[in-house]
Symmetry: C2
Subunit: 382 residues, 2 copies
C-alpha cells in the first residue's frame, strides 16, 4: 500500500528521508553499512550490506518502485547489472557517473557551456607542472573518484616532489588521471538545489550561501544574503541547465563560486539530498528529502517557497561531549526556536553529527543563534 523506495546508504541522508517517507506512506528499503547506524535506527526495513555488493543492492531493489542513492559509491558494473535486470534506477547510471567522476563531469560541463574554473585531466607530474605554469600557482588537484567533504582535494603550490607526494597515489586509480583546476579567487560559495523528475518537471529552491570549513560544509544561509537579482537568476539558470542537460532525476545540488568579478563558476555536483539543502526541512514548504522521494517516483514536485524570510543551518562537526544530546536541557532552555537534528552517530573528531536550523527575519540574529545552539551540541560554549 503506497509506493516503495529502495535507497542505497545508511547515513544521515537516508535517515532524513524517513521523515517525509512516513508522512507520505512511502515504504523505505535501505541498504545500510551497520545495523545500528544512522538510518537503521529509524527505518524498520534496513538491511546490512555493501553498496559494491551486486546481490545486496539487487535484494533491496526487489519489490521497490524505484532504487535511489544517498551517495555516489555504487560501482558502475553493479548499476549496469541492475539496469539489465529491469530495475528502475533514479538517477540512472549514465546520469550518476557525472557525480561519480569529476573528470567526466568537467568534460560534460564544458560541452554544455557551463561556466567552470579552467581545468585539465592530468596524466603525469609533467601535466601538473604545465597546467600550473599556464594558469598560475597554486592550483587545486582532485581525485576524480571517491572524494568527499574535502577528502581527495589538495592545493598544489608547485610540481616538485614534496608538493605532489599526496597526489601521486591518485594516479594509481584505474581512472589514471587527476583533475586539476585553477584556484578561483571567489567572494563566497553558493549552492542551488534543484528537483527534477523523469517526466521533466523541474523546481529549484532559492540560491543559498554556504560557508565551508576545511572543505566541509559548516553553515548555510537561505536565501544567499545581498545576492544581486541577476546573479541569483544566473545561478538558478546554470543549475537547471545542468539538471536538464544531464537528465538528472531526484535532487541535484550544484555548488558554485561567486567569483570576485561577479561571475558564477560551477564547483561540484551531487545527485541526492545535500548538506546545503538541510535548511529546507523547516525553511521550505517542501524539504529536499520529500522532493527527492517525489522526484524519483516521478510524482509532481512540491512547492519550494521559503517559509520564512531567513533560514540558517549550522552543522555540528565533532563534539567535545560524549553524547551531544546531553546538551539538550541547556540548548532548549535558551533556544526554544532552534530545530535540533542529531543523526544517531557516535562522536569522532570533525564528524557530521547533526545540525541546527533557525528561521526568522533578521539574518544576523538568526545566524548567531543557530551558531550558538550548534556550539552547545559541540560542547563548545560560545
Amino acid at each position: 500500500m503506497g509506493p516503495v523506495v529502495a535507497v542505497v546508504g545508511g547515513g544521515q541522508l537516508a535517515r532524513m528521508m524517513a521523515e517525509p517517507a512516513g508522512a507520505l506512506q512511502i515504504r523505505l528499503q535501505a541498504l545500510v553499512e551497520a545495523a545500528d547506524g544512522a538510518t537503521a535506527q529509524v527505518v524498520p526495513d534496513a538491511r546490512v550490506g555493501a553498496a559494491a555488493d551486486a546481490a545486496a543492492v539487487a535484494d533491496i531493489a526487489r519489490g521497490a518502485d524505484v532504487l535511489t542513492f544517498e551517495h555516489e559509491h555504487v560501482p558502475a558494473e553493479v548499476l549496469a547489472a541492475l539496469v539489465a535486470d529491469g530495475v528502475n534506477l533514479q538517477p540512472g547510471p549514465d546520469v550518476l557517473r557525472h557525480a561519480q567522476d569529476k573528470i567526466v563531469m568537467r568534460h560534460r560541463m564544458t560541452e554544455l557551456g557551463v561556466p567552470c574554473p579552467r581545468w585539465v585531466a592530468a596524466a603525469s607530474v609533467a601535466d601538473i607542472e604545465a597546467f600550473g605554469d599556464e594558469v598560475g600557482w597554486p592550483i587545486v588537484a582532485k581525485t576524480p573518484v571517491g572524494g568527499y567533504d574535502g577528502k581527495g582535494v589538495k592545493v598544489l603550490t608547485g610540481a616538485d616532489e614534496a608538493s605532489v607526494a599526496d597526489v601521486l597515489p591518485w594516479f594509481e586509480h584505474p581512472r589514471g588521471e587527476v583533475l586539476l583546476e585553477e584556484r578561483v579567487g571567489f567572494r563566497r560559495e553558493l549552492a542551488v538545489l534543484v528537483g527534477r523528475r523523469p517526466s521533466g518537471e523541474i523546481r529549484s529552491w532559492p540560491v543559498v550561501e554556504t560557508v565551508q570549513s576545511e572543505g566541509v560544509c559548516a553553515e548555510v544561509m537561505a536565501p544567499a544574503p545581498d545576492l544581486p537579482a541577476h546573479l541569483a537568476e544566473d545561478a538558478v539558470d546554470v543549475a537547471e541547465a545542468i539538471a536538464e542537460g544531464l537528465g538528472v532525476t531526484g535532487v541535484l545540488a550544484v555548488e558554485m563560486f561567486e567569483a570576485a568579478d561577479g561571475v558564477i563558476l560551477v564547483n561540484e555536483l551531487a545527485m541526492r539530498p545535500h548538506n546545503s539543502g538541510h535548511f529546507t526541512i523547516e525553511g521550505s514548504v517542501t524539504s529536499q528529502f520529500e522532493q527527492h522521494l517525489r522526484a524519483v517516483l516521478d510524482l509532481p514536485l512540491g512547492a519550494t517557497d521559503l517559509t520564512a524570510p531567513v533560514a540558517v543551518m549550522v552543522n555540528v562537526l565533532g563534539s567535545e561531549l560524549e553524547d551531544p544530546s546531553s546538551a539538550y536541557a541547556t540548548l532548549m532552555e535558551s533556544y526554544p526556536e532552534a530545530k535540533v537534528h542529531l543523526y544517531g552517530k557516535s562522536v569522532r573528531p570533525g564528524r557530521k553529527l547533526g545540525h541546527i536550523t533557525v528561521t526568522g527575519t533578521d539574518l544576523p540574529t538568526v545566524r548567531r543563534r543557530a551558531q550558538e545552539a550548534a556550539a552547545l551540541l559541540g560542547g563548545r560554549q560560545r
Copy 2:
C-alpha cells in the same frame, strides 16, 4: 545514546511521534496492536502486545527514560503496578484518570471552577429523566470510560424506553454511572493545545477552531478565525488552569464550546497529541509531537509560534479509493503546497486514514485548497 521513550499505542499518533524522535535522536519503544500497523511501519522497535497486558507494558518500559501514551486505554491496575516498579509514567496515573473517566473529569473541573456544561452522574433512568426535566431536553449522555470519536455519546430526547435503549448497557460498566450533560447551544467548537512538563514549564499554541462531523474531527483552522482577543485569552487561561490544576505532563488537548453568549465551556480533555493539533507539524515552530516528547522527558519546551498567518488541517475520513496514495499524482499536480499525511492504514468507512495541511495567508483560499486536496485522497472529487 540519547533519550529513550516508551509509548503505548500503535496508531497514527505514535507514528507521528517518530518524525521528531528521529530528528532529536530519541529512541522509541512502542507497544503496538499489530506488527504491520501505522506505528510499526515506521518504528524499528515496535513490539506487539495489548495495552491491558501488564507484562507487555512493563517490557517496553524497560530501559526507557519515560513511558507515555497515545491513548487512554491502559487499565488503572496496570498503571499502578508500573508506578510500584519505579517506572517514570508521564502523565502519571492520578493525572491520566481525568482523561480516562469523564465523570472523574467533570468532578475535578467543577472543583477547579472551570466553566462546563451543567452535568450529573446518573445511576438510573430516573436520574436521566430528572436531569432532562431540569435542564431541558434534549440532553447528551456519555459513557464515562472508553468512548472516542463520537462513540459512546448519545443525544437523548426523553427518558422513555426507546430513547434510553442505547444508553442502558453503559450502566453495566463497573463504573455504574452515565455522564449526562446539558446540550449546549454553541456558535462553534474551539480547542487549545497545551504542553506542560514535570518541572512546571507550560506553553500553549493559539486557540484553534475545530469542525466536527458526526462526532469526529473533520477540520481545524489555526488560529480560530475572528475570535475576539478576550475570548482567546479566556480559552488559553482555562486550558492552562486545567493543565496546572491536574498536573498534566506532555500535551493536553482541551476541546471547548464557544457558547452563543460568548462563554467558553469545556467539553473534553485528551492527555496526548490530538487531532486538533496536527496542524502544528507544519503550522508551528514546534509540533505537538515534538512537544509531547520534550515535555514527558522534562526537557525545555519548544516555541509554539505559528509559521504562517493561517493553517488549515482537513482529515481524510474513509476513502472511495482502495489505496488513497493512488491519488498522489493528481493531488500533487494541482496542490504543490499541500502537505500530505497518510497513516499506513487499510481503508474502512469513516476511518481516519490521513490528513492534509495547508498554510498560507488567506483563510478561504487555504481552507478550500486543503478540503479539495483531502477530497482527492478520499476519492471524492470536489
